[in-house]
């Protein structure tokens, strides 16, 4: 098991290195001149050239990459060309807020999605099943930004129950903090329920038809035991993989949702730095997202292994 985790961490590191190269490569293609961006549009050309030289922007790309990677590894994430501030604290702040948003949404997605999936499977082909299907389809059938606006118009403008946007730190009080989370969370959850619930539904249906569930029924076990003890556990295994993917999707979902709800997290930072060609910030932010994504997958795999004795104990036959 330890060897497995070690192997996975080495792989993740390799993937992250490759992602950093990819991101670096794409960002060097961006139609923007870093020196120009730092100095502003009114800087004279000779100044721009001098700074380019100083920053090594005329060096071969791989040299630039190594320099950047080296600094990154030593904890120096560089300075935002646009905001003239060190990136690290900026990023950490945004990351913290995004993690709160994604984790709360994720837990809700997992609990509600699995719950709905199980209900639909148990009532397979009957009204509750169809209701769940339609509701979750609606969530994925319309882009998140549409629902986000609907949430704003209904809950903030018409009903006035929720703040329309923004973020309040926890120091402003738990209730205020929580209230600002509700609308973006609602949007994210609604937009991401379908995958988990549909998968849970189909794997639950399949497991309920599996020979070992028939065998459990043949033993005369109460239906509650059959469903919860025998079926659910195995039915959840594929859901875990999908939940990990969903965590990644959430990291994508925050791009739109944070932009609309003016939630100052990682997603907005990415959009902002792309739109403003703030390349050092962009590189750092994207890498952080990739790392979170990768580790979410690792956690899912470990959880999967933990719940699945076949992987947990290897293949040695007694």
């Amino acid at each position: 098991m330890a060897a497995y985790i070690a192997r996975r961490i080495v792989l993740i590191t390799l993937v992250l290195v490759a992602v950093s190269i990819l991101v670096f490569a794409i960002t060097t293609l961006l139609p923007a001149n870093v020196a120009y961006l730092i100095l502003g549009p009114f800087a004279p050309p000779e100044q721009v050239r001098a700074l380019e030289l100083k920053l090594g922007l005329n060096d071969p790309v791989w040299q630039q990459y190594l320099r950047w990677a080296g600094a990154f590894l030593s904890g120096d994430l560089g300075e935002s060309t646009l905001m003239n501030r060190p990136i690290a604290p900026l990023l950490m702040e945004a990351l913290g807020r995004s993690l709160v948003l994604t984790c709360v949404s994720f837990v809700l997605i997992a609990v509600i999605g699995i719950g709905l999936g199980v209900i639909a499977a148990l009532r397979h082909g009957r009204p509750p099943d169809h209701t769940v299907s339609i509701a979750t389809y609606l969530g994925i059938a319309v882009p998140e930004f549409f629902w986000a606006i609907v949430v704003i118009v209904i809950f903030a403008a018409w009903l006035g129950w929720l703040p329309a946007s923004g973020y309040e730190p926890l120091s402003a009080g738990f209730a205020v903090w929580a209230k600002h989370l509700i609308a973006p969370t609602l949007t994210l959850v609604f937009g991401h329920l379908a995958h988990v619930s549909r998968l849970t539904r189909s794997s639950m249906i399949e497991v309920l038809q599996s020979p070992y569930v028939t065998a459990a029924r043949a033993k005369g076990l109460p239906e509650r035991v059959v469903v919860l003890h025998h079926a659910l556990r195995n039915a959840l295994l594929p859901s875990i993989t999908v939940l990990a993917l969903d965590f990644g999707r959430l990291m994508g979902g925050i791009v739109v949702v944070e932009t609309i709800f003016a939630y100052p997290g990682l997603g907005r930072l990415v959009v902002f730095s792309i739109q403003n060609r703030d390349i050092p910030t962009l590189q750092a932010a994207i890498l952080v997202v990739a790392a979170i994504y990768a580790f979410a997958n690792l956690v899912a795999d470990l959880l999967y292994a933990f719940l699945n004795p076949k992987i947990r104990f290897g293949r040695h036959a007694a």
């Binding site: 319309v142 990291m251 739109v256």
Partner: protein
């Protein structure tokens, strides 16, 4: 577990799910194809006098902030949304399927290399990867389609790989090897025809992902450009008027909803019909 009946059973009738999916998707495709002929008004001509009209006998779905007919725009936009979804998916199939075939068939280091490369692309949420790719060039709808297609290449490749892996163990592949068939014959004549059904099912669902991702990118300013009547752009432009003229946003919103649900029904229904045990999508 009903016993196997005669092998000459008549073809299974279509499930209601599949019928509904076919009807919805077919109707939308048909409307999209006929749009230039059936659209009642020009889709992009500004008219000062007809702004913000609610749905009425002349403008069935009302008019927008430029006085343009929402129904005509919606119909013309059908083509763009479908082209976006289908184009992106075709691109990801064209790239992803050969990669998946190669990885699944050759195994070994080719597999490792291709799948790790896929991991790299999959380490970023699709929308961020799309943003990055599109930030490099001036926006255009076809570029968005390509970018969205590119983003989904690894997932298609993974699915093609897992299908290929299971097919490569089938005895008919051994039979082909036993008559010294070339690798390309085995890949494209023996494996690919059998890999299509799950791939097509998956691809049909990808079309909806592509439409949604494309519209999200449109929303962020990359992709369709005004006065295009791409659904995503329509929704995103109309959102400022949601409380004043909700029909402008709801018409494309509902249309997109219908299309996505139709395609999903179609894909799910087709999957169950083709092979009830097919669960490759989960792994993809």
């Amino acid at each position: 577990m009903p016993p196997e009946g005669s092998v000459f059973a008549p073809r299974k009738p279509l499930s209601p799910q599949l019928k509904a999916g076919l009807a919805i998707t077919g109707a939308i495709i048909l409307l999209g194809l006929l749009a230039p002929w059936i659209a009642p008004h020009p889709w992009d001509t500004i008219s000062m006098r007809t702004r913000f009209l609610p749905p009425n006998a002349t403008y069935w779905l009302g008019t927008d902030e430029y006085g343009r007919d929402v129904l005509s725009r919606l119909l013309m936009g059908t083509r763009l949304s479908l082209a976006m979804g289908v184009g992106a998916t075709a691109f990801s199939l064209a790239i992803g399927v050969p990669i998946g075939l190669a990885a699944g068939y050759f195994r070994g280091w080719i597999d490792e290399a291709l799948m790790r490369a896929a991991d790299v692309l999959m380490a970023l949420p699709p929308i961020m990867l799309g943003l990055l790719v599109l930030a490099v060039t001036p926006p255009a709808l076809w570029k968005t389609a390509l970018a969205v297609g590119f983003v989904y290449v690894p997932q298609i490749a993974r699915l093609a790989r897992s299908v290929t892996l299971s097919l490569a163990n089938e005895d008919f592949i051994q039979a082909a090897k036993a008559r010294a068939e070339s690798t390309s014959y085995i890949l494209f004549r023996e494996i690919l025809p059998n890999a299509w059904p799950p791939l097509i099912v998956e691809a049909s669902l990808r079309v909806t992902y592509a439409i949604l991702l494309g519209s999200a990118l449109s929303f962020l300013g990359l992709g369709a450009q005004p006065p295009s009547s791409d659904w995503g752009l329509m929704i995103s432009e109309a959102r400022s008027f949601l409380d004043r003229a909700p029909w402008i946003a709801f018409a494309p919103g509902l249309a997109m909803c219908l299309l996505v649900i139709g395609i999903n029904l179609l894909g799910d229904g087709a999957r169950e019909r083709l092979d009830p045990r097919l669960k490759a999508r989960v792994k993809a």
